[in-house]
Assembly symmetry: D2
Homo-oligomer: 110 residues x 4
């Protein structure tokens, strides 16, 4: 979890005024996801070469932690942009954004 | 989580008498890991195409669940083979295998 | 996770205009926490009466799920009131509330 | 998670040859569960006194961690005694104990 995107993303709330800086964050996410893809390939190699089960499990744990870290980062960006913007406008849309974010958080926890 | 390997793997405990059937389980694991690799590529495409943040999070959750399912299956195979064999022999090695399995389980939970 | 407080709480953001309805939600939380306290006593009874380990673990899981459910409810109330209010005002306080909520969410997930 | 029972429990596998030492472990578990019961009462007090939501969530997280720690300890004792004993005997009972333990582990993870 060492790396943090230098610039926050807005992960597309549908308003254009947050586009600045998006490119840098996107590159950081893509880099992390490519590394996760590499971990999935590494696991296939381990299985293919009959690696010891516990060693495979250790790598699966590392990959799961990397995914959770991406999730938390994406959620933070989403809260900082889409949810804050909707809340500032208020009304039904604010409530809908909060409900949607809470549903995503529940999926994490369960 | 629909699929279950038709034949249990032994994920290499270092004893050769469990090798029978290993090929079938290995293929099932490789198939699941290839699908997980595909999910990692799908996430990169979503980020690249500026997908909505919550939709990306939903896919990350699905991928995390798929990884957890592989973990539980690997752990089950490991318990059914390596741990059971070591326990049958008893002594220090049995204890070492249990400690090692519990350490892997702790990494899941935390 | 059947029960939901009939009226949302605001769990004290420091603004008085959300006090209406707080009493009803408070009662619902207290009722759930009393039941969780009862589960903790039930576990002591099980240990004391030498219950089977797996049966104790099943009860610990049920108690953990009940706690997670309270957490998610509290977080939802917090988002719906404190975070939404702060976001509507904007500025540093909005950011501080989001950061604080994200730190709480990270503690859940890890 | 500082404290560890000085003597391992066997949490009742139905064989009497592990009874030695059970009393000490039982006392350690009871002490931890009483503390968890105290945390549940502390949470009620916080809700009753309108504590800040995030502070309540922090306490719920601490209580959940304490429960998870008890779970892992109970599972370790169970593996070290009931599962090892059943595995040493082999056959259907060994398989049944492993299946039961894996079902308990799955409940943790999900």
């Amino acid at each position: 979890m060492a790396e943090q995107p230098a610039v926050a993303s807005d992960c597309q709330c549908g308003n254009s005024d947050h586009q600045h800086g998006y490119i840098a964050a996107k590159d950081a996410y893509l880099k992390r996801l490519r590394r996760i893809e590499g971990q999935a390939r590494g696991l296939q190699r381990m299985v293919d070469e009959d690696a010891y089960c516990i060693d495979i499990l250790t790598q699966v744990s590392a990959m799961t932690k990397a995914l959770q870290s991406v999730s938390l980062e994406l959620l933070t960006d989403h809260m900082n942009h889409c949810v804050v913007d909707a809340a500032a406008k208020g009304g039904d849309e604010a409530q809908a954004k909060i409900d949607e974010a809470m549903a995503a958080i529940s999926r994490f926890v369960k």
